[in-house]
């Protein structure tokens, strides 16, 4: 015999970006809704109004940056694992590449950019990749260079190279990401990251 649940915890969530102001009122983390079970499903006998009220009467509010932080912790963990792989492993990267990638990732996180997908061409670089519609953006990060590339499925649309000097202040490279993701310009917090590996590692 199947064991049906007797109560369901429904979790709605409001995500605020950095320009939003959260409500003064405190919010409960979740609300318990008791439902009558039917043979055909859980929700069949629940009026729509109750569902909506129950869902939206009390929702947790979290900052977009908190969500991003978790994504970037995962990114940092993945980058860390890539340095520990055996020699000859396709995904292994060199420590200087890891340091540069963490530095750029920290800058991305500070500005609440979505965490990128990552891949590599070998030990000497990491590539951060975002999709926006059919277009893609790639940030190729090596120990002493960053290059940005935007492409449609058919062709390369734009390439920009950044040198070693610009790595000390990656805000120029971040501007490319911001433009690509059509994100509103936010106040730059240059210098806020003292040890990027701690941030994302």
């Amino acid at each position: 015999m199947l064991n049906y649940p007797v109560s369901i915890y429904r979790q709605a969530m409001v995500i605020l970006d950095s320009s939003s102001k959260p409500s003064e009122a405190s919010v409960a983390p979740y609300e318990t809704v008791h439902v009558q079970l039917s043979a055909t499903g859980f929700m069949g006998e629940m009026p729509t109004e109750t569902l909506i009220l129950a869902t939206f009467s009390s929702v947790p509010v979290i900052w977009e940056s908190e969500l991003r932080q978790q994504e970037y912790q995962e990114l940092g963990a993945a980058l860390g694992e890539m340095t520990k792989l055996e020699e000859g492993d396709e995904w292994k990267i060199d420590p200087p590449v890891y340091n540069a990638a963490c530095y750029v990732a920290a800058g991305l996180m500070v500005h609440s950019f979505p965490a990128p997908r990552i891949f590599n061409h070998g030990t000497k670089s990491v590539v951060f990749n975002w999709s926006y519609g059919a277009d893609n953006m790639y940030l190729t990060i090596s120990a002493d260079h960053i290059s940005a590339l935007i492409s449609s499925p058919e062709r390369i649309k734009r390439r920009v190279e950044y040198s070693l000097n610009e790595l000390t202040d990656p805000s120029t490279a971040l501007q490319s990401v911001r433009t690509f993701l059509k994100k509103p310009v936010q106040r730059l917090a240059s210098g806020a990251v003292t040890d990027p590996t701690e941030f994302v590692g």
Binding site: G88, E90, T140, S142, I146, S147, L149, I156, R159
Partner: protein
């Protein structure tokens, strides 16, 4: 009839996709379509493709791929590094034309490329193997960024995939070939007429026989 020599612009070249090399987790990553190695002496980025002349039908393309994955696993076993979770699995191939490779040298977005070509070069007993050779201009500093740009540019000219499951992988519960994504140029379509296809097979058989018997050295 010529066996080797220059690879015409209109000839098909294939890139075999092997799990997990071209994958990120269980998903195909077109960004890893090609593995490009930099040779500092010749300032060249080198890769591998197979020439359609020596894999004249889909069956030959896939046989090559299955052998490729098999040999990778054998090498790994011989080195004592084989792990079942990293077992190489051939998943299928993407096609691109010789013209797409040579176009890299004239692309506005790839200023650093001096020349780009694909050259027939038998390797490890594989007559269909070709070298992809992209020579960079002197002073090209950001090799890794160039690799990304080349892979993106070549992916744009790809068609396929031609999915396949090798006999040794048919027992897999979830074969990774299902995650291969359609290339920007769309599905692969063999537009050769019946007679041209027949001629390609006959030519391949003759050239392969000449090579096996040492009458021809590519």
């Amino acid at each position: 009839m010529r066996c080797g020599g220059y690879i015409p612009d209109g000839d098909s070249l294939f890139r075999q996709s092997v799990f997990p090399l071209a994958f990120k987790g269980p998903r195909y990553a077109h960004q890893k379509l090609l593995k490009l190695d930099y040779d500092e002496g010749s300032r060249s980025l080198l890769g591998s493709l197979t020439w359609g002349r020596y894999v004249p039908t889909t069956e030959f393309i896939h046989r090559y791929g299955c052998r490729l994955a098999f040999h990778m696993n054998e090498k790994s076993r011989a080195a004592g590094k084989f792990k079942e979770k990293d077992r190489r699995v051939y998943c299928g191939a993407y096609e691109l034309k010789g013209k797409a490779i040579r176009a890299l040298a004239t692309s506005d977005e790839l200023d650093e490329v001096l020349s780009a070509d694909v050259v027939h070069h038998v390797e490890e007993g594989e007559i269909a193997h070709t070298d992809l050779r992209i020579v960079l201009k002197p002073g090209s500093a950001n090799i890794e960024g160039t690799k990304t740009a080349i892979v993106v540019a070549l992916w744009g000219g790809c068609s396929g995939p031609l999915r396949h499951k090798c006999d040794c992988d048919r027992g897999m519960a979830e074969h990774p070939s299902s995650s291969l994504t359609t290339a920007p140029a769309g599905d692969y379509s063999d537009t050769r007429s019946y007679w041209l296809r027949l001629w390609c097979i006959v030519r391949f058989q003759i050239c392969n026989w000449l090579w096996q018997k040492n009458f021809w050295h590519p």
